[in-house]
Amino acid sequence: MDAPGTSRRSAGSTRRQFLLGGAVVGVGAAAAIGIDYALTHTTTPASPPSVPLNGAEVVPFHGAHQAGIDTDAQAHATFIGIDLHADVVRDGLRRMMRILTDDAARLTQGIPALADSEPELAHAPARLTITFGFGPGFVTRAGGPRPTWLGPLPPFAIDRLQPEFSDGDLLLQVASDDPLTVAHATRMLLKDTRSFGTVRWTQHGFRHAHGTFAPGTTMRNLFGQVDGTTNPTPGTTDFDTVVWATSGWLTDGTSAVIRRTHMNLDKWDRLDRPGREQSVGRTLSNGAPLTGNNERDEPDFAATTAIGFPVIPEFSHIRRARSDNPIERIFRRGYNYDHSPPDGQISDSGLIFVSFQADVDTQFTPIQQRLAELDLLNEWTTPIGSAVFAIPPGCDQGGYIGDTLLS
């Protein structure tokens, strides 16, 4: 946004700097010292920690790409699908995205949003990123060219999709290592979305807490599996090729597929360890392919057992997901979910599958098609939600997310 209201300042210190800036007179000076003491007293621990607190860590907001895609996945994420009000057209979309961009640009940097009624909750971003995606309804109302892949995925035989976890006009992905920060940022964004749309679905996800494992460690899902080993590495040409779009208003953007996948843990409990490892083709201990020793070892799909069967079964997840076509690759950035169980059960758990790819039709769909046709993991997993969004590129300080489509 180019409004003067977007000027930057360091979080929480403006008033103190003014008060100590030599402008204080008479009795005001004593009051100012009191305020300064109160501020520093509440924000500085008695003995400073030897390492910087993660709460102060900031991921840049502005740039060619939106943050929250190539950002090492934070511990917590909330995904929200929003339905636009019927009367919101191009001008309304532009106004909404300018406001939401300004909120995101501030909150991710540890600065309260304008009109933030709980500004203290903004001071610890803990690597907060806020990522926006446009559904087919958004792009149609914007009058922009709609990517051919932007719409519901083709139906798969394994799907049991529920409307309350599917589709939507606008995606908010709010992620941070601190769940309180996620909650505050989400509420702030939704307050500023209320004039333009209603919440269609919300999905809360988590990974291991910050500091439990080294950054970049592949996550585990609630089956105990190492999940995401073959991801391209952010910062490499390979990643750029897989993820970033290269034409039109979506240049430097990408696409997001979000599929809520219920995991039947009770049924999984009945499967013993060898069966669990064969279903995916990797060991549970460290995620190594059944033909290797380390997580990153290349699977040897030709290797056979003493009696001639493939070591990595034909029906295993990694065999079915793998394609000889190098185009058919995606970048996964999913989260676990674990909610209150229905009556008589002890868990309602699963995976918020999230993948980013330059083109859904050529990269994601062929993989999903193969997995739907045959993947032993389907015995224990059920897709119950599905949504596809175009993720516009990032913006610079004078711009807003979506300006390549709406300006």
């Binding site: 403006t14 106004r95 304008l114």
Partner: protein, 186 residues
């Protein structure tokens, strides 16, 4: 809504107040006295984090942080915008009954030399008394402030949805969602 303004700013009063503030600052400022020609106040004022509350009709308010980079106090005498046919500079004060009431500030807003004045819900604010059109979230509204030396300062503020800033107006008899706030100056 029945809006009754309490006072009209008297120019002489403003000059008097501004002069007093200058004298106070002069005694205690660390800045060496410079014999330079004073710059127009409008060039010394900045506004950051400005925003306006969205509203369909009637009243609204603008907020933000006004700063003064000069070594003399600056007084904001009035504000205008195309978004409202009538603007007032308001302060929020406690009345005799201990209730916080907003009213037009006498003498305008004083931004201290080298300091800042925060306009915020529950405190000082620029009151839009009579909107000319709905203020929609995400729009920009431009304001022009007139300062004590008749120079002006312009800033633009985005419109934001906000549920607060429902201060009781001194003398207002018609606030539906306030029950105990009958004006005390009737």
């Amino acid at each position: 809504m029945s809006i009754r303004t309490t006072t009209t700013i008297k120019t002489r009063l403003v000059v008097l107040l501004a002069g007093t503030a200058l004298a106070v600052t002069g005694c205690t400022s660390n800045t060496p006295t410079a014999a330079e020609t004073p710059i127009p106040a409008g060039e010394a004022v900045t506004m950051t984090d400005a925003w306006v509350k969205a509203a369909e009709e009637g009243m609204s308010a603008a907020f933000g942080e006004l700063a003064n980079t000069s070594d003399q106090d600056v007084t904001v005498i009035s504000a205008r915008t195309a978004a409202s046919s009538m603007l007032e500079l308001h302060e929020t004060v406690e009345n005799d009954a201990g209730e916080m009431m907003m009213r037009q500030i006498e003498g305008g807003f004083v931004i201290p030399a080298g300091g800042a004045l925060t306009l915020e819900p529950g405190g000082n604010h620029i009151m839009l008394m009579n909107l000319t059109a709905p203020l929609k979230a995400g729009e920009d509204v431009t304001f022009t402030l007139t300062l004590m030396d008749e120079s002006t300062f312009e800033f633009t503020a985005p419109v934001k949805d906000y549920s607060g800033a429902n201060e009781t107006y001194e003398g207002d008899m018609d606030m539906d969602d306030m029950d105990m706030e009958m004006g005390s100056d009737n």
